[in-house]
Symmetry: C6
Subunit: 76 residues, 6 copies
C-alpha cells in the first residue's frame, strides 16, 4: 500500500500529522539508512534553530494539505 | 479534545495567535520533552537570527490561516 | 483595541507597512522583553545576511497582505 | 525525451517522487559533474540541518505538483 | 509620492524590477542608515550564499507581483 | 529585447529552465560583475548546502512559472 494514498484527512489535526509525515519522508528519501537518521536525531532535537527549520518544513507542507482539503470548509 | 479543532478564527489577531500555535506545535512534535524545549529557549530568544527564523515560520502558517478564513472578508 | 483589527489597507504602501508589523510581532511574541530586543538590534541591523532574512519574512507577510487586499485591484 | 514531460501524475505518491526529482534537478543544473555531486553526498546525507533543508525544497516543489494535479481531487 | 503606488507593471521585466525594489525596501526599513547599508554591501555581494539568499527574497516578491498582475495574461 | 519577454513557455521543461534563469538574474542584479560571480562559483557549486539553497530558489520561481502557465493544463 502507498505511504501516501491521499492528501485528504478528516480533520485539521490529522492534516497537521500528514504534514509532519510529508516532512519526514523527504528526509527518509534522502537518507534511507534508519540507523544514520536515528544517530542524527539529537543533533536537531536539541538545537533551537534546527527545530525552527523543521517547523518551517511542516508549515510549508501543512499549507499544501490545507489546500488539498479545501480548508476542511464543508466540515466546519 | 483536539488541539486544532478548526482553522477558523473570529478575528485576524486570533488567526495570528493560531499561526504561532501551529509554529510551536511542530517543535513540540519533534522535541516532545518539555524540559529540553525550556532549556533551549534562551538559545533562540536571545539570538536575532533565531527570532527572525521563528518569525518566518509564523508568517508561513499565518498565510495558511488567512486563506482558511478567506481573509476574514465577510467580517470586515 | 486589537493590534491587528484588519488585513485591509488603503494602499500597497500601507500594506507593505502592515507586512513589516506582522514580521516584527512574531519576534515580539517570542521575545516579549523590549530591552532584550533592543539589545539584539545591532546584531541584525549591521549584518547583511540578517537583513536579507528579515526581508524574506516581510516578503512572505506581504504576500499574505496583498492577497487579503485582492491586490488592491479595484482601487487601481 | 524530456526529463519533465508533464507535471501530472497518477497518484499523490508519484507526485511526491516528482517533487524530489524537481528538487534534485536544480542541483544537477548548478553542479552538472556527477562525480562532484557524489562526493558531496555524505556532506548533507549525514547532517541533520542539511536534510531538513532538502526537505524544505521538496515541500516547495510538492506544493507545485499538488496544484498542477488539482490535488488529485477527481481521482480520490 | 508613494514609493509603491501600485503593484501593476507593464511587463514581466518591470515586474521583476519591482520585486527587487520590494526586497531592498525591507532592508532599508530595518537599517535606514544609507552608510551602513553601503558598508555591508561587499559582505553579501561577494558571498555566494548571501547572493542566493537575496535571490530567494526576490523570488518570493516576484510571486506576489506576478499574481497582482494576473501573470500579464491579457497582455501576452 | 527584454530578457523576460513573457512567463509563458511551451513545455514544463522550458518553464523549469525559465525558473533557473529567474533565479540567476537576481544574483546578477545584486552582483553585476561577471568576474566576481565566476570567482564565487566554486564556493557554491562544491558545497552541498549551497546547492540545496539554490534549488530552493529555483523551486520558488518554478511555482511562479507553473502558475503563469496555468500548469500547462490545456497543452497536456
Amino acid at each position: 500500500m502507498s505511504w501516501l494514498p491521499s492528501l485528504i484527512t478528516n480533520t485539521p489535526e490529522d492534516g497537521y500529522e500528514l504534514a509532519i509525515k510529508l516532512s519526514r519522508m523527504a528526509v527518509k528519501k534522502t537518507q534511507p539508512d534508519d540507523a544514520v537518521r536515528e544517530r542524527l536525531r539529537p543533533d536537531y532535537a536539541n538545537n533551537a534553530d534546527s527545530l525552527t527549520r523543521a517547523s518551517q518544513v511542516v508549515a510549508t507542507n501543512f499549507q499544501t494539505v490545507v489546500q488539498a482539503n479545501d480548508c476542511w470548509r464543508v466540515r466546519d
